[in-house]
Amino acid sequence: MSVLATITLDRAFGPVVEGAALVSEEGFSPRYDLDRWSGLITKPGHKLEGQSIRDRICFFPTAKGGIAAGWAFYDIKAKGIAPKAFIFGVTNPVMVQGAVLAGIPITEGWSENPLGLIGNGDWVRVDPGRQVIELLRRAA
């Protein structure tokens, strides 16, 4: 499969995954923004309000506060509503600790802002070992 675009990453954890992208202009916290029973972003006014993170490759520019992610990612993984991967511009240790515990790939730092480059529903591959994200095809 040809690669339409490549973003290189500063740091990454986890196995290779592929999935549909969910790209946010706004930062993320599982405690502040997410309904941890449905997987929907429910914070009123969040740029992705009403969207589900389930099985998505989630792009967030920043991490917001919140120590909860440490346990919450493990919990949403067990509930079957976890994303395939978390891609952060800037993150914090809680997100990393939570993702490592849950076995969810997580990355920090990007060579290019995915906003504008990758659209919602575009199919992407995250390869933490090679520290790259590859855009494989556009959403239909």
């Binding site: 429910t42 120590i67 440490g70």
Partner: protein
């Protein structure tokens, strides 16, 4: 440890810490003296409780003192609040599993005010972002945001990977915030500063340096500031030259000299008033007033006790205070609780309002639309429960609770 000679719990905890350390490029582990963890059924879920049990069954024991953060149930209030009996029973199982691993279930998010005050340079592993930023900034101790599993792992192994705020290079100031045009008379004003600075600089490694404050801030004011910075900005540290120990001077706060082109942000009374004016009041619903997130110190309880004395929470409204067992015990002994109880204020122990089990159901059942608080942090973090939130000064919060009118 990694080979399993010290048992499977230590092995698993260290493997987890190694992966986290590897992500951040940590070169070594450093010993820690104290840990503080979040662990309650609301955030753990069934999977988290099962994981605690696995660790317990694997023989996990804390090697250093570890305390717990606020939890989601005050058992004395659970029924009155309509909390789920099944989840409350699980919360008891969480507590039992933690205690079996020698975790001290103190259930407070103000451990830095009530339990343990690490010294300059002391390495700890604390969770709840408010505790971290206070430890790094006000005590000059060293910790990253250590979430529940990370703090627990650190207590089991007695160490933590050296990255982030464990390293000198991340502890230097990154921009200046001038407070000289701000009066900052109320706790909520300090939280508003944290909101303004945090929201505009969301970055774990951004370290604001506050100058120009008109008087030495009190511990409760630094608490509100720190909690708001951590909440809105995901920040782990700040400096205040002349107040915080790693900033004897402005230059020292920047690790030598402050460069001429450093970013300078100015906070004024007008920018703080704009924060208060910026909230959508909806239909003006004013039936829920909350003093929580972080828990209140004994000094805050005393102050509220005086403000509520002789007044009553208006029928149909609910006013909640949350604090720790230690503070409640002292407040009862000193006579500060009775005026609050007489006024109809619910004083909850060992919990924080925003993590209360069943909160969304409680909101729907009571028809609450707005939540009013003097804590900028809780105003920020309760969003997922679909409250419209409004920050108000302490006196205004008391008036709103007693009149039912939102101003």
């Amino acid at each position: 440890m990694l080979g399993g000679a010290q048992g499977p719990a230590v092995q698993r905890a260290l493997q987890f810490q190694l992966e986290v350390g590897r992500f951040f490029g940590a070169e070594r582990f450093v010993p820690i003296t104290n840990a503080h963890m979040m662990g309650d059924i609301e955030v753990l879920g069934d999977a988290g409780l099962a994981l605690l049990r696995e660790f317990q069954a694997a023989g996990a024991r804390a090697r250093i003192p570890i305390t717990t953060n606020a939890r989601c149930v005050d058992f004395a209030w659970a029924e009155r609040l309509g909390q789920d009996a099944g989840e409350c029973a699980k919360e008891r199982e969480v507590i039992a599993a933690l205690q079996a691993m020698d975790v001290m279930t103190t259930d407070t998010c103000i451990n830095y005010q009530t339990l343990y005050q690490p010294h300059l340079g002391e390495r700890v592993a604390w969770g709840d972002t408010g505790t971290c930023i206070y430890a790094n900034s006000v005590f000059g101790a060293r910790t990253n945001f250590e979430s529940g599993p990370a703090a627990m792992a650190a207590a089991i192994t007695g160490r933590t990977p050296e990255y982030g705020f464990q390293l000198d290079r991340h502890r230097r100031g990154s921009f200046v915030v001038d407070l000289s045009a701000a009066t900052l008379a109320d706790l909520a004003d300090w939280g508003a500063v944290g909101k303004l600075v945090g929201e505009s600089h969301q970055n774990y490694y951004a370290v604001p340096v506050f100058i120009g404050f008109r008087r030495p801030p009190l511990a409760d004011e630094l608490k509100q500031l720190g909690c708001a910075l951590a909440s809105y900005g995901s920040m782990g540290m700040f400096h205040m030259p002349g107040v915080t120990p790693e900033a004897p001077s402005l230059d020292a706060a920047f690790g030598g000299t402050v460069s001429d082109d450093v970013e300078r942000m100015v906070i004024t009374d007008a920018s703080i008033e704009a924060v208060y004016a910026g909230y959508d009041l909806g239909d003006g619903d004013a039936r829920l007033v909350v003093f929580s997130g972080p828990q209140l110190s004994l000094f805050e309880i005393k102050s509220l006790s005086e403000k509520f004395a002789g007044r009553r929470v208006v029928p149909g409204s609910m006013c909640v205070i949350t604090t720790s067992n230690g503070v409640i015990s002292a407040a009862a002994k000193l006579g500060y609780l009775k005026p609050l109880e007489d006024a109809g204020v619910a004083v909850l122990e060992g919990v924080c309002f925003y993590i209360l089990q069943n909160l969304s159901v409680m909101r729907e059942k009571n028809g609450w639309k707005n939540m009013i608080s003097n804590s900028a942090k809780i105003v920020n973090i309760i969003g997922a429960h679909k409250f419209r939130t409004i920050l108000r000064r302490t006196d205004d919060c008391v008036d709103i609770a007693c009149t039912g009118r939102l101003v």
